[in-house]
Amino acid sequence: MKFAVLVFPGSNCDIDCYKAVEEIGESVDYVWHTATDLSAYDCILVPGGFSYGDYLRCGAISRFAPVMAEVAKAAEQGKFILGICNGFQILTEAGLLPGALRRNESMKFRCHDTVLKVVNNETPFTREYGKNEEVIIPIAHGEGNYYCDEETLETLKHNNQIVFTYGDNPNGSIADIAGICNERGNVIGMMPHPERAVNTLFGSEDGKRMFTSILKSWRDSHDTASIS
């Protein structure tokens, strides 16, 4: 399986994402934001950071980077797309996920471990977790306060698109939302950083199963379970 880690000017979690994929022994490339072909990749990771300096709004400018047209195409093809932190903000700005991320209610940049509940363990990204399992994954953001209107929230609940919720809401997100997926389930965005929790040396390895979940989902759909 082949992973791409997108790199925008100002990305700063790209190396963490790259290392997380290495941790599960799969092949991974950095892909610069000007790329116009992602056909070689099965999963696209949109990493955290401050792309384009977060000017105007987080993710507002990145969404017009040439590579984003390819990300939209990959989403349509059913490829796996995981946006983390700034990556989540970019995916909402691009309209690949509903809602928006606002300034934290506390006005503070919050950087610490959080307890997340796996609300939906049936997505390709979370299948190796138990239903309602509690996992420890860190956050590091100033603008992770998820917002959507009532109607959208009802749709998210109805379609089981809320993937992760916070145990102790750190930012004021509506319905304690930490991560959501699209209706089809192949695009997911989350503020917490699973790539920073892939080894007990980091304090938690609870994030690693997101990456092994993706791998397992890909293997199932490619009938290559025997190839390691």
């Binding site: 709004r57 507002a60 017009f64 928006a100 606002r102 006005m107 917002y147 959507c148 209107d149």
Partner: protein, 81 residues
């Protein structure tokens, strides 16, 4: 040349944490009459056109596509010249 001014504000009903913090600061230094405060963005654009209708149409597109995120923000604009 047409000069355009764009104002982007947080939608009514959507929490504006910056506004709340600044309101609290004003109240704490004696401006108790501040009942509410919303923070927004002010942008000045100079457009290389004399066609007002076209300028307005394109400015609206700029607001919808980039300058405002209509999920959480409202915008309004003024044209001059």
């Amino acid at each position: 040349m047409i000069k355009a001014t764009v104002y982007v504000t947080v939608k009514k009903g959507v929490l504006d944490p910056q506004g709340v913090a600044v309101q609290g600061a004003l109240q704490s230094i004696g401006f108790q009459e501040v009942e509410s405060l919303r923070i927004g963005k002010y942008m000045e654009l100079t457009l290389d056109t004399d066609d007002r209708a076209e300028a307005e149409e394109r400015l609206k597109a700029m607001c919808e596509k980039l300058l405002a995120n209509t999920v959480v923000e409202d915008y309004r604009y003024e044209l001059e010249g």
